[in-house]
Symmetry: C2
Subunit: 307 residues, 2 copies
Amino acid sequence: MESIRIFSPASVANISCGFDVLGLALETIGDFMTVIKVPEPGVRITRITGQKLPLEAKKNVAGVAALALLDKFEFEGGFEIEIEKRIKPGSGIGSSAASASGAVWAINELLGHPFSKLELVEFAMEGERLASGAAHADNVAPALFGGFTLVRSYEPLDIIRIPAPEDLFATVVHPLIEIKTADSRKILKTSITLADGIKQWGNLGGLVAGLYTKDYGLIGRSLVDHIIEPTRSILIPGFDEVKRAALNAGALGCGISGSGPSIFALSKGETIAKQTAAVMKEIYGGLEIDYDVHVSNINPYGIKEIY
Amino acid sequence: MESIRIFSPASVANISCGFDVLGLALETIGDFMTVIKVPEPGVRITRITGQKLPLEAKKNVAGVAALALLDKFEFEGGFEIEIEKRIKPGSGIGSSAASASGAVWAINELLGHPFSKLELVEFAMEGERLASGAAHADNVAPALFGGFTLVRSYEPLDIIRIPAPEDLFATVVHPLIEIKTADSRKILKTSITLADGIKQWGNLGGLVAGLYTKDYGLIGRSLVDHIIEPTRSILIPGFDEVKRAALNAGALGCGISGSGPSIFALSKGETIAKQTAAVMKEIYGGLEIDYDVHVSNINPYGIKEIY
């Protein structure tokens, strides 16, 4: 195989009680990429459409991830990458993760699968380091594995893929405002009460149990965040209204996607997910804030080849 | 039915990363109780063997739990309770929980099941309140439900039963020393770092996933406690040695049972669980500290009638 065209999904990280550990892959929004094996060594980003992003490989998350992979593999040639960005950077649904993961997944295909998915996560995390200063795995893991992913530990890296119940749908609204990642981080406290911690891990245990047993009620009861949401949601206009309306529309739960500003909701069935989208639109329409809305099943496989 | 004889199991609470939320029921150690329906109203503890404990119903955990149940049920008669204590109070394996749960379970049988297991947990928690000042559910839940139980939330009370893989065995060593519960609580910090919290809920998610998928390796990797064990283990002589030896003997993980002084280990298969018991004995023998050791499968049903 000399070239491959792929779809790399957007993802929701920091799922309520799963701050920094639990993410999920979306299916209806993601980047398209074409990667070509060429005789010339190195990595070149030949074209980016949809967004203005650096073409220089060392300054582009896909380039950096690809270079991290090639650093661990003896190969005389190189790769050219074209990126059709569909995910807006800064939206909070894993834009950089999709490009970084897509690059390494595609190259691994073209090289005949020398690396495991877990190793690909590590390469893609180098792209995340470029994007945000921290090599986190909570968006690249769902992009690469699909379903829900739990980053149990970083040292060593340990990722558990948790299958999503088939009827689970995500609604994501992206209010088109800018939150500086630095602000979103600064607002977090470095310590929490033990009592809040206990509630959080009780809920995470409940959420994982609900996913395995397809217990939508339990999933809903567990989608609670006592720690991050109360402070971070202040930065997102309309958050409380959107959440209230989503739950009233029948969503199982609702919270901040990644570090925002996107807000996600999970629902049983596409109908409720669409109704949730409708109330989200109504609220941001009323607030005169532009927005994008996505309704998606949970992507079961992650990145895929497009024919 | 006018009388019933039951077995009510000991239990391990605070399972490593599951502080305050995750417990499991044992099978080879527990209290035996006989409960008799009588015409005279009220609850009488007629006999306790094995331990010196108060016979007055209002001062006995089983009596208090039974009275909490009868407070919610119109019944003209009463109950007599005989308790054969096999679990030592203060051991950290749910001694008071076994008696309290056993009493309400047995009375519920004799009354024709007016209450759900969740309601029985609430009655039994009143016994726990008498025993320790706090109406916690982390031992009464596994005693009543069997398997592993996750107390997802207290308000409202939400308990999730998680089945244990069949090959999972527990080893529990009880060094016969006294730790005052007050000391064991006092040593806990009321706040934790967010970073430690994230590790803890990552591990709890991993443990729950491992139990559902019968992934013993994942169960083992997740049996880590970054928060409570480092401080509480100081109160248990030999803890570090016992833990090291248990892991060397092949146990998947090892930690403090409840608030101690008992130490539990989980293993794949009875052979390793017995080898773990052997090294535990060796260490407490060397330290000249008396001990009890139990090896048990995970009790799948909780309290049961004995014929």
